[in-house]
Structure formats: C-alpha cells, structure tokens
Symmetry: C2
Subunit: 459 residues, 2 copies
C-alpha cells in the first residue's frame, strides 16, 4: 500500500490480455489502452457487427449514473445518449388496466433504455479506432492454465486450438466465466451460484402506426402481480421489449402454461391491457427460451498480479435494479483510478480493487434481489406508494440528510454498500413515521414534522 | 409418491455405477449389492491395500451412533468396534497444562476414534467378498457427460482413456466431486464452496514405553486457545494424531510461523504440556501440508433417475462436530430405506432422498461451524462448563424432555435439522436459567427448579 504514485503511461513490453469482449470487456480494453497499455481481447462470439445478429440476449438495459460516468471517462457518453431513451418513472398497470405512476427521482432524473447489442457494437467500433487494442473473435476459451499462465483458445472460424501465454489477464467473460471456473479449482476460493425459482421470458409489444409508442414512451412499465410480474422497456422503433418474470414451478408457473390457449387465457386475465398490444404472444411464448436468474459471488477476484475478474465474472446479479451493467462499468472507473494511482504495480492494483469493490458487489447483489420483491409486489400497494411520496417529501425538505435508496443506487456514485446501509436505516425510520400517515397531507402535521426532525437528529 | 412399495430384489439388467470408492462409496456399494443390484465402482486412487499407503488423509475419524447404525446395516459393526477406541469425554488442557473434563454423554456413551485408512480397507475387503460388486482402481474421472450418460475415465495404470456408459450413477467422490462439477454446469444448479480462514496441520504425540498412551487414552484432548486450538485423538499403537487448527493469516497464524525456532517457541508458550510429547514437532510442522477447511452446499443432488450425489460430494462439512463420515454413512441408511420402499423406482428414490436429506445436511453444516467456536473458545470458559453441567442435570431430571444438543447429534438418529432447532431452543432456555446459577448446587434451589419447570412446560 506504500507504492509510489506512478502515473507514467509508458507501456510494458507484454500486452495485457482480456478474455471476453462484451460490454465490460470492450469498455475495459478502452480504459487499459487509454492508460497506455497494449491490449489483446479474446471474444467467444463472432463479430456482432458482421453477418446475422447472433446476439444471445436482446434484452434492453437500463443505463444510469454509474454507467454514464464510465462511458464519459472514455468520451463516448454523448454518442450513446443519442440512442438512449430516458425513463422518468415507473408506470404500474393493474389488473383492470388502470395506471399509477412513481417518479424515479427528482424532476429531470431518469434511467435510460439502451439496446445491449447496439451499445456493444458502439464500444467495439471505438475499440477498432484504438491502435493499441486487438480483438480476436470466435475464440472459445477451452482452458485457463493458471500455473503456466496460458490460455487455450479454440478458434471456431479456423477450427483449431491455439495456446496463448499471458502476463496479466482480465476476466470479463460474464456470469459463466471460464477464467473464474479455473480459479474455482484453486484452494480457498470461495464461490457461490444461487438461482431464483423464477425464470424470464422475453415478449414484444409492437409499435403503433408510424413507429409510434402505444403506451407511454418515457417510462418503465410494470405489471406487478404479487408472485410474478411483467415489465416493458421502450425501443427506438416504437416497440417495447417485455419481460415476464415468472415461477418455474407451482400453481401459476411456466410449468402450468403448456398450450397457446392457456397462455392467451392467462394473459387476458392478468395482463388485459397488454394482450391487444402483443399480437405474437403465443408464438413468442413458445419460441423464446425461458432463461434463468443467477447471483454469482466469489472471492478472491484476483490471482497475484496475474489475473483479475471484473463485471459479471466476479459479481453476476439478477436484473431487477437495472445495475448489472452499471456495476460492471463502475468496475472500470474504479480500476482506472487505481491504475492512475499505482501505475504498473498490478499486484497492488488487483488487491486494492478486490478489497474495495467486493463489499459493494455483495451489497448490490442483495439490493437486486430486494428490488424484485418491490417491483413484483410492493409497487402495487397504495400504502407503499404513499410511503414513497412521503420519503420524497422528506428528501425535498432535508436534501442534505435524506436521499431515497433508489436514488443513492441509481443517481449517485456512493459505494453500493453505503447506499444499502443508508437505505435500511431510512426504512427503519419510515416504519416509525408511517403509522402517523393516512394521506400525503399528513406530512405537514406538526407531530409528524417533529417526529421526522427527531429521527433525523438521531442519525 | 404413489409408487407401489416394490421390494423385489431382482436385479435390473444394467449394473449401477458408483464414482468414488472411499468410505461412503464402498459402504454404498455394499448396500446396493445387498439390495440385489450389480455395482461397478470407479476409484481414482490405487487399491490402498496394495503397496505403499498413498492415502491422502491419515486423520482419525470420530465414529458415532449414526455411523455405527449404517455399519450395523451391513453387519460390519462388531469388526470395526474391535479396532475403535472409545472416547468418553473431552479433556481440556489449559496454558499451564491443567486439565478439565467434560463427558460427551451419559455413563458409557462414547464417540470412537478410528483410522480412516483402516476403516476404508475393511470396507473394501467386504466389497471383495460381494460377487455383485466390481471395483476398478486407478480410474481418474476426466469427464461426466450428463447428456449422453457416459463417464470418461483415465486408467492411470494402463495409461489410457475409456468411456463407460451408465444408467444410474452414484457420485460419492468427495468434497471435490467430478460428478458434481458436471452438474454445476447445468442450469439452475445452486452451489457454494466456502472456506474458513483457518487451515489445519497434522502433528503427532508419540507413544510411551511399550505402546502406552502418555495422556488419557479414552478421551478427545483439546487445547482451546480462543482464536485457535489443537486437538488429539488416540491411535491403537499408543500415539495420538494431533491437529492444529490455526488462522492462515494474522498476528498469530501460519503466516507468522516461518522458522523451526518460531514454531518451537510458540508451541512451548501455548501448548507447554504437549511439546515434550511431540519430538518431531518442527519437522512435521514444515513437512506436513497445511490443509484448508471447506463447506460445500448444493442443490439439487440428483439428475432425473440418472445421477445422485451422496456424502461429501453433496454436503462436505468442516470436521469440528465429528459428523462428516457419520452424515455420509447415514445417507446410506436413508437411501436403503427408500430402496426398500420404492424398489427400482429410482426417480422417486432420488427425489425423496434429496428432499428429505437436504435440510439435514444444511443443519449439520451449520452445526459443524458452530462447534468450532465451542471447541476453540467456549470450552475454556468455566461458566460454559458450568452451563453444560446444569444442562446435564436438567437432562437427568427430565430425560423425556431434554437431550443436550451434542447428544442429539451424536447419540441419536434424530434428523440433524430437528436436533439443531431443539438445540437452539434449549440454548435460549439456558440463557434465562444461567443468571440464577453461581455453582452446581444452585440447580437445587427452589426458584431455579420452578423456573426450569416453567420453561419446559412452555416448550
């Protein structure tokens, strides 16, 4: 920790190696190159910009402040903003098609719907303009030999294996990381993969006439139904990507929806306002895969100064807080800060990175599961929405002392662990305040005002 | 669950396959054969009865009631008892060499020190006498192909690979199971491996003249030192296997003991009565490996009617309750009961097995970590030992209503999860009773008697 603050940008002889050229891997390659390093990126898939789009996951992503900051750091923020759709609020659809709203933050604050494929392609275009980075596509990682520091890659286009040595390896190969799988076999590597009993299915709300949006464009739509939910995010072409989060087994589950008739009848009962907007419902339901939802935790994230895991490879989370990509991008911001501080001292950089970042990744994993319950269940409860309104009033009255948890996570750069701790503390205060609240107007009552002032004074 | 209770012992055409011929694998093979099945066992190591003993772990094991019942089920109980040493109590050694005692159970109740290698060899001898079982040694599992139901085995003696099909596969290949590793890659497989920050080192207290025991033979010896401890179990030849459980890092840790002088000086300070009995201390300390301590949890334990994990492969635990082998052996007892009930209906057998057994394996994993804290720290506390004496008096007075947790785990066949729940409830009662107790005699005081009677009436 007493290393000198080397800021030299003279590259080392050996290029750095990045396994995984998805969102985090391509952004990381740009950060490493801008720091003066030469970088070799191995990506399993074919170049997504060539030929058919074989992209596995078409799901939209919600980009928020942490992600924007990381994009800004390499100067691509504005270009991405042009193709991002701001979502200023949640719109909840009840079983009769009636709507309620909940703003995400203050006036003008939004999360942004972006296409995963589009964003990845844009980052790869930037990588192409960076002479220090070389990307090799169609490279399936067959083996990571941690002892001899080599990668065995199967080149799917050439049909042959090749062994590559590495000096410093960055594993950004996602939730099912091959690099992490090699580390899992080393002694004292803590690891867990935990699945929800829920799967998800992607569906489509089609565009209206002339690519118009048939439900509110600048909102994230939720059909909360207690034990399950559907959500929808807008696309630029007027359509919406819908995702049904649904139990695998049980009375109401993927298991029990076996025929097109069952699907239609179920959707008409529980999502009546959405069904007319989903002309390909039955076909999509049976053609699109049912995907699982995993949380991956592990530690350590590094092997000496030789390997470092980032993004989903070290902390895959469920998608309900819209923070998976943002957390991975923030990894790049944090790493950038450490590189600026410690130069080529990779041992210190890797150790500091995992030490600082692990508690925040764990907190974010907890937050993501927590928000699933909020989205599928609590947002349908008028008392919950009233509580959120009161919280928003407290925040307006005491802006220095109270930022709602959602805003701390989404619209700030506070470490996730601090946000989560603050959020839990605020929730305890709300549990004491809400018994005194029947309507929004009760916030102004003197005893409520006194109680809130007292609670805040005690924090 | 409505399957008929088939008890036919007519074997199916296909032999059953067992991967792993250690303690649980060889016992399981015997149980399967006695049920009428033909069985093929693949074991990674060479036959331990031939040539040099290459047994990885020489550590002694503590056999208790659950293990005995499983051995009894195949008629080998008496033969094993002949080479087992009963341990009736814990003997705690303080830093000045002074001793305190704590009986494990009632008069005559004991856990039994047995040699892992000796027990494994005896089970393999029994397997040899069983015409329905074939054991193949030197078979390293290279790949389990769950889709095609094949095993790729590298025969280390022949130097060649062979692919074996399987119909029903039992994975008893331990904490680092290859069978489980294949299952880990399937969708929705929950898995965790968690290491303690402690490692262990095996050391030896040598025998006295004419193979005599230089400390009490029929006891498990503990040197509890708060953040670490040493234990010793007797061997038949008069020696004791000692195990030091010690932090990997920190002020007092493996990291800080780097020279023979440091080791001797440290041991003389903290284990002064043991050092004179350990003439090879320094040599053993640096020659013997430092081994890690892992808890493995996973679910599901089965794939259709095709694969079932048992023993450490599905529930590896830390060794502090002496229940790892006993839990694995109890798996065989439970499976035997399900085979008797469901015959060849492997789908039901596998599903019922994991459904019944998983909560108990989880409870046992928690108990094992809990007992580490008790052994290394609490047994050195006079108040803790007083509490144990009072508990023992309550148990004597109310034998139908109060069995100490240790006895429930060790001297009963109560499911582990029930034992753990009862134990936690009893601990809460003791927390209310102990403030009224200064000495053992206080147990007889009327207000204490009334309090205990009230607490028991409320359970």
């Amino acid at each position: 920790m007493s290393s000198p603050a080397v800021t030299s940008s003279i590259p080392e002889n050996e290029p750095l190696t990045v396994v995984g050229g998805g969102l985090v891997g391509s952004l990381l390659a740009l950060y490493l190159a801008r720091q003066g390093h030469t970088v070799e990126v191995f990506e399993r898939r074919a170049d997504p910009r060539k030929g058919e789009n074989l992209e596995g996951r078409s799901i939209n992503l919600a980009l928020s402040d942490r992600g924007w900051r990381a994009l800004q750091g390499i100067g691509v923020e504005e270009a991405v903003r042009e193709v991002a759709i701001p979502l200023y609020r949640r719109v909840m659809h009840d079983q009769r098609g009636q709507l309620t709203m909940q703003p995400y933050g203050k006036e003008g604050q939004a999360i942004y719907s972006v296409s995963r494929a589009g964003l990845n392609q844009r980052l790869l275009d930037l990588v192409d303009q960076e002479p220090r980075v070389q990307v090799r596509f169609n490279q399936q990682c067959r083996r990571v030999d941690l002892r001899n520091r080599t990668l065995e890659m199967f080149d799917a286009a050439a049909g042959s294996n090749h062994v590559w040595p590495y000096q410093h390896l960055f594993g950004t190969d996602g939730a099912y990381s091959s690099v992490r799988a090699a580390m899992q076999k080393t002694d004292r590597f803590n690891y867990s993969q935990q699945y929800l009993n829920y799967g998800y299915k992607e569906l489509t709300i089609v565009a209206g006439p002339e690519n118009s949006w048939v439900i509110e464009k600048n909102a994230l739509h939720i059909w909360p139904r207690g034990q399950y939910m559907m959500i929808a995010l807008p696309n630029l072409d007027g359509s919406f990507n819908c995702t049904l989060f649904f139990p695998y087994e049980g009375a109401v589950s993927f298991e029990t929806l076996q025929t097109p008739e069952q699907v239609r009848s179920f959707f008409e009962e529980v999502f009546p306002d959405a069904v007319p907007l989903m002309p390909e419902l039955e076909q999509e339901f049976f053609e699109n895969p049912t995907s699982s939802l995993v949380t991956v935790r592990c530690y350590p994230w590094s092997v000496a100064d030789e390997v470092l895991l980032l993004g989903d490879a070290s902390h895959a989370i469920v998608p309900f807080y819209g923070q998976g990509m943002n957390a991975g991008f923030e990894d790049c911001t944090i790493l950038q800060g450490l590189m600026a501080q410690y130069g080529h001292d990779w041992l210190t950089i890797f150790r500091e990175f995992q030490r600082q970042r692990k508690p925040n990744a764990d907190a974010m994993a907890d937050l993501a599961v927590y928000n699933f319950e909020e989205m599928r269940d609590r947002v349908a409860d008028p008392r919950f929405l009233l509580q959120k309104k009161i919280e928003s009033k407290i925040s307006a009255q005491y802006p220095q002392q109270w930022l709602p948890l959602y805003s701390q996570v989404t619209f700030s750069h506070l470490p996730y662990a601090e946000a989560w701790a603050n959020g839990q503390e605020q929730e305890r205060i709300m549990q004491r305040v809400m018994p005194h609240i029947e309507t929004e107007a009760d916030f102004e009552r003197p005893e409520v005002q006194t109680l809130i002032a007292q609670e805040l004074a005690q924090r």
